[in-house]
Symmetry: D2
Subunit: 208 residues, 4 copies
């Protein structure tokens, strides 16, 4: 009889991920589903989100919060604050830095044989007619994530693309919040469920 | 025989309009076409663009540059700097101010029986995959212009919509400039031709 | 026997002025002092502050809120949001616009023989070691107000200068709020008293 | 007779430091003075400035550009872009990140026995009446540097303090550039000489 060590999955991100382990957070929902499906022993899901984090904040705590913990899989979900803080406090992240810091971490993880899953930044505002002020910039940063995933051969959870598709159907009144988010950015129960559903298959995906 | 006074049309805007009377500018192109079509005597086309102008700068010089000149038609083309300056210098225009100053001027013109033509703000960046950083915000400000046109019953030149449509076809490499603009914002010869073609029919349009 | 019409004084500004007529607001405090000194019949003090207002918002409502009311004196206290919104939302006001809109209103008032009192923008943060992020910009905008006052021969309430002087003495711990403001910007009871004390003499000052 | 290895000094910073090895740059000037004083064999001065760098860009290239080169001394001169980019592109650095990334690098260097010299960020604009827009913010970031120097026992070159002192005397017309800088930020010949004179003694200072 072989006793398998569970797969250690760390979710690395900002406040959205910080809420992942909440009672109705997306990490908790995935755990619940693993239990229901009798697979909970195969996984250890760990939240490593910090409110307000931008790409370089992840880099700053990368050694301590990721490498030292020797994960099997790292799910990176970052970029909202990198775009949002530009207009909120003048302290967003230049696109080239977003690319460089992001790529550097992915490269280090891949070099160590750690599986990496990338998520495109979700939404700042849920309006479906592409009039959320940061839509263009989020599209650009999402595109950067897709290119990194392609270049480093990572699985991708294209949250931005999927959420926009969802909102086209489920936001008939073109509301700026309340469909998937409670405040334009942070997920409500539906949003957490949405993310959990998008991410869950990745746990079982073949590493690329 | 009746000698008709020519229709006085003032183009009211920012640096794009300021370049309108240039040799290959869109105002000059419209004049040339009027000549070719033998209609030049029916119109007086006047450029009133000032570099860097935002909506409240138009309001500031509204009396002197528009009302005092007693135009028959005013073509308003403003909004690029209102959006652009947000990230360039922290001095863009809040959406509600854009709406309020814009509406106030349109109302005054309509109340005096002056014809008003509105233009949606064109582009900041020509990438066709909706990743120009200000795309969302420009869409929002464009939407405001459409709503003002609807409310006050004005003819609309939907430059933003038409340019995006044009770029989908004519920007195969997803370049950020060089198709209609020389620098992401200001028109090159093709762009000036494009605007002239869009605006020309409005000169003959029935006032709504 | 002559029945004198009271002097109509309008306070024209942002949220700080909007709070002026509050129970402990600076306009109320001046009224109370006028009562105590038996001079209340000589003055009518009117608050015309609107939250979030910048210089061009004053210009926008200038006709309706000031000129139409035919005041004898207008006390202008504006500039905090012009500076603050730069970093808060990317929608502050360029220095040259601050100068131009401000000068235009002062000129119109003076041309009509209306007395104008200018106030320098107070503070965003109360730290006394000149490390409040907007200190330099507020100094610049304050300097613009002083130059307008000089050029148009207006009485000046130099709130910024006087508050900085006060904080040097009364902020031993270099706190960022709580001395004159409750939140770095809006006045607490002490701040309202301070402003009332600074402004009161101007009511009786000889027009320059 | 002992043949001493020269002291390896790396200058770590942004475009100002990038210009340090120019013909009239401050690093070249210090080398020239070392030659004149017959001490050039005792030092190896290395420029490691990159245009546009902010504190986290230094952190990003810290291993490669500093640690791998095994310096004896590191002179850190960073902060202008951290403040400036807030209004230029909305991508400045939050004060707490400036503190954290800065402290982390200083701690690592000190733990390895490497001497660290800190420089306060110089100027953005040379006006001497404290009306340069970023004066308050630069004062705040300068204060952070002073506190790090104190906490980690580092020698400090207080460029900001010394330049302000110099400008009080040598900028009679309150010009915004042309005294020490050529463009409000980057040093002219006088500015490079000024920095060289400020830094030179530190080469011989006792490590604290």
């Amino acid at each position: 009889m072989t006793l398998l060590k569970p797969k250690k999955v760390i979710f690395f991100g900002d406040s959205i991920t910080w809420h992942g382990p909440d009672e109705d957070g997306f990490i908790t929902l995935m755990k619940n589903r693993l239990k229901t499906e009798g697979k909970i022993d195969q996984f250890e899901l760990i939240g490593a989100g910090v409110s307000g984090n931008k790409i370089y904040d992840l880099f700053f705590r990368f050694q301590k919060d990721i490498l030292d913990k020797q994960p099997d899989v790292v799910v990176i979900y970052i970029g909202i604050n990198d775009v949002w803080h530009k207009s909120q406090s003048g302290t967003g992240t230049d696109a080239n830095r977003y690319l460089n810091f992001y790529s550097a971490m992915v490269k280090i993880l891949k070099d160590r044989g750690i599986e990496v899953v990338l998520c495109t930044p979700s939404v700042i505002g849920e309006k479906k007619d592409f009039t959320n002020p940061q839509d263009g910039d989020l599209n650009a940063y999402g595109q950067i994530v897709r290119e990194i995933a392609l270049k480093y051969n990572c699985n991708l959870v294209d949250l931005r693309k999927e959420m926009i598709k969802y909102l086209q159907v489920n936001n008939p009144d073109n509301a700026e919040k309340g469909i998937l988010t409670r405040d334009r950015v942070h997920m409500n129960a539906t949003g957490n469920k949405f993310i959990a559903d998008q991410m869950y298959p990745v746990l079982f995906a073949k590493q690329r």
